[in-house]
Amino acid sequence: MKTRSIPSLCGALLLGLALSSCAKRGVDAEPVASPEAAGGADAVGELDILEAELAARIERLRELRPGFTGPAGQEVAGIGGGDGDEATKASEVPQPATERVPPADRPSGGKCTEVCELSASICQLQDQICGLVRRHEGEPRYVQACERAKGDCEFATEACHACG
C-alpha cells in the first residue's frame, strides 16, 4: 500500500480551499457545481439552508463538547431562522437507521472507535453471507464463505472488546 506525507498536502489543501472558496461561487473551473447554483436557486434561500446546516452542526458539537459556542463566540440558540423549539424537536427525532459514512475513514473517537465500527461492518457482512446459506444448503462455496465470515466476525469482535 502506498503512503503519503500528510502535512504538506493538508497545508496546500487548506490554502487552496481558502483561496478558492471565495472565487468558486462565480466560477466553474470544471463542471462541478452545487445543484443549487446550477439551478439558479435564490441566494437568500440557499444561505438560509446553509445557515441552518451550520447551526445543526454546531448543535451537534455542543452536545459533544459542553460549553462549545458557535462562530465568533456567539451562543447557539438553535437551528437558525426557525422555531426556537426546533432544535429540541430535532434532538428528539429518532436517529435514522441510515448512517452516512462508514466511520473507518472518519474516526470520531479514536482508534478503538474505528476498530469497533469495522467490527460491526464485518459482522453485518457475516450475517448477510450466512443468510445466503439457507437457500444454498450443502453448497460448499456458501458454507465455506459463511464459516470464514464467522471467523472474521469473531476476530473483529474480540479486537473491539480488547481495544475498549
Binding site: 500500500m1 502506498k2 503519503r4 500528510i6 498536502l9 493538508c10 496546500a12 489543501l13 487552496g16 480551499l17 478558492s20 471565495c22 468558486k24 470544471e30 462541478v32 457545481a33 452545487s34 445543484p35 444561505l47 446553509l50 445557515e51 441552518a52 446546516e53 451550520l54 445543526a56 458557535g70 462562530p71 465568533a72 430535532a90 427525532v93 435514522p96 437507521a97 441510515t98 448512517e99 452516512r100 459514512v101 462508514p102 466511520p103 473507518a104 475513514d105 472518519r106 482508534k111 474505528e114 476498530v115 469495522l118 467490527s119 461492518s121 464485518i122 457482512l125 448477510q128 453471507i129 445466503l132 437457500r135 444454498h136 456458501y142 464463505a145 470464514r148 465470515a149 472474521d152 479486537a159
Partner: protein, 179 residues
C-alpha cells in the same frame, strides 16, 4: 462575523477535514489537479450536510432527491482529481443506495435500476483504488442489491469482496499504520 462568512468558513473547514481524512488514510494516489478535488470536496461536504439536515427533519424523499442530483454532476476522472474523487463518489452513491434500500417506498426503483446505480457509482476501475471504507460499503450494498435480484452467486461474491476490504481495514487499524 457576517453569517455568510461563517457558513463559508464552516464549509471550507469541513471540506478540508474530509480531504485530510482521506489523505491521512495515506494510500490514495495524489490528485494531479488538487484544485479540482478541493472544489469537488467542498461541494459534496455542503450537500452531505444538507442531507443530514433533511434526514433530521425526516425528509427522506428530500434527502434521496438531493443525493440523486449529485449523480448528475461531472465527476472528474482520476487522471485529473486522483483516486480521492472516486472515493468521494463511492461515498455519495453508497449513501444514496443505503437510503433507497432502507426506504424502498420512497420514489421506488426496481432492483435492476439500483444495480445500475451501484455499477455507475463504483465505475470500471474501482478495484484499483486503495482499500477504503467508502468503496467497501458500496461493494457490500451492491451485494444486497444482487441478492434482491435473485443473483445469489453475485451477491456472495460482492459480500466476500467487501469482507476482504473490511478485514484489511481492520488490520490496518489494529496495526495503527498504513501497510
Amino acid at each position: 462575523m457576517p453569517t455568510w462568512i461563517a457558513v463559508l468558513l464552516g464549509a471550507v473547514v469541513g471540506a478540508a477535514g474530509m480531504l485530510a481524512g482521506l489523505a491521512q488514510a495515506g494510500r490514495l494516489a495524489p490528485a494531479p489537479k488538487p484544485e479540482v478535488l478541493v472544489t469537488l470536496a467542498q461541494t459534496l461536504e455542503a450537500e452531505h450536510r444538507r442531507v443530514d439536515l433533511l434526514l433530521k427533519q425526516r425528509d427522506v424523499a428530500g434527502a434521496i432527491a438531493a443525493l440523486e442530483q449529485l449523480r448528475t454532476i461531472a465527476w472528474p476522472e482520476p487522471a485529473v482529481a486522483g483516486e480521492a474523487a472516486a472515493v468521494l463518489r463511492h461515498d455519495v452513491y453508497g449513501r444514496l443506495l443505503r437510503l433507497r434500500l432502507d426506504h424502498p417506498e420512497v420514489d421506488p426503483k426496481d432492483a435492476d435500476t439500483l444495480a445500475a446505480i451501484a455499477g455507475e457509482g463504483l465505475g470500471a476501475d474501482y478495484k484499483s483504488i486503495a482499500t477504503n471504507a467508502f468503496t467497501a460499503r458500496l461493494v457490500g450494498i451492491r451485494g444486497e442489491i444482487a441478492e434482491k435480484q435473485g443473483r445469489d452467486d453475485d451477491a456472495l461474491a460482492a459480500y466476500e469482496e467487501a469482507l476482504t476490504m473490511n478485514r484489511a481495514l481492520l488490520q490496518q487499524a489494529l496495526a495503527g499504520a498504513a501497510p
